[in-house]
């Protein structure tokens, strides 16, 4: 094997190992403090970003070294078929309700983000980055890439929205006088995806089941509907 290749394989292995160790350490920290503010994903991203800035390593080099981990992103999306299948029996009766709610949630997120971009006269790249926020992170990454946005910004926004939901979600829902566990679960799953679903599962089993089902349905609705809705909004209002 030639030397340069060997070196890049070695760098990649070390980088991936470092990311994995860091992530599991962040999970430990999170379990210890049991606070949504110590979101392991966000903590890992911030530490690695800081390291890149401090050491002057370019993101391009980091991205190619961490490619093996990145490739699992799409496999994770495929794996979502498993919970969808095992839960399908329970949610079949409420399938229509879940679709309507996901549609409303996804559309309102895209519409509101578009309005805010308009008000703040955002550059086109930011418009493209904030259109698919009401959805789980892997889908955001894929859709934002499709819309020629900045996937990293979209991903971090989605994580932060999830954390917002974990901290304020249940308080807001009781403020809105929602007591039905199904409604709570659906709202948290559609709007705050993974982190919201975890919150719903802790809160009540029925809320949890509806949250994880509505999270997956939102993923599909986002992929099908957001690019179309965004095209409609642009043709009506421009950037």
């Amino acid at each position: 094997m030639d030397k340069a290749l060997l070196f890049s394989v070695f760098t990649s292995a070390i980088t991936c190992l470092f990311i994995i160790v860091l992530f599991f350490a962040a999970r430990k920290l999170n379990a210890r403090f049991d606070s949504p503010l110590f979101n392991p994903l966000l903590v890992s991203i911030l530490i690695l970003s800081l390291l890149l800035i401090l050491t002057g390593v370019s993101y391009e080099d980091f991205a190619s070294a961490s490619l093996p981990i990145h490739l699992f992103l799409e496999i994770a999306v495929v794996a979502l078929a498993y919970p969808l299948y095992t839960q399908f029996h329970d949610i079949k009766r409420s399938f229509g309700l879940l679709c309507v709610c996901s549609f409303i949630g996804v559309s309102s997120a895209t519409g509101l983000a578009f309005l805010l971009c308009h008000l703040f006269s955002a550059p086109e790249a930011l418009y493209n980055s904030l259109m698919a926020l009401s959805v789980t992170t892997p889908i955001t990454l894929i859709i934002t890439d499709l819309l020629a946005g900045l996937p990293a910004i979209a991903a971090v926004m989605v994580i932060l929205i999830g954390m917002f939901g974990a901290v304020f979600g249940l308080t807001l829902l009781s403020l809105f006088k929602v007591s039905d566990q199904r409604a709570k679960g659906i709202a948290l799953g559609v709007v705050c995806h993974g982190v919201g679903t975890a919150t719903a599962i802790e809160h009540h089993p029925q809320a949890g089941a509806f949250a994880s089902a509505s999270m997956i349905i939102s993923a599909l609705i986002t992929a099908l509907w957001v690019p179309i809705l965004y095209a409609i909004l642009i043709s009506l209002f421009g950037y």
């Binding site: 690695l48 970003s49 999306v77 299948y85 309700l97 992170t137 039905d180 559609v190």
Partner: protein, 114 residues
Amino acid sequence: MQFLTSLLLMIACLIIAKATTHFFEINFPSALIAMLLLFLLLSIGVIKAAWIAPASQPVLKYMALFFIPAGVGLVEHLNIIAMHWPLLMSTLILVPSFGLFFVSYIAKRRGSNG
């Protein structure tokens, strides 16, 4: 071994989906097509849920790990964040607040009607 079989089944779905989107020039994320394909195969019983579980459960449990490389891409956009933080902050607060309001309202109304 079971882990590997189950992982390979998911990768196979992904490859089929990628080939399909490439061949028919479909502008839809191939990972989602692969997910639907796997769901379909599970539903009609071609693939048993027990074959998929060994890899899908750990992959889903530690899913966040796979977003790290993309998330670190943040370092390339620090100036955009510094310039547009008021927009980002208002999006961060308003999008989930309104979203929770609308969705819970609809879920409450429609849910109680049956």
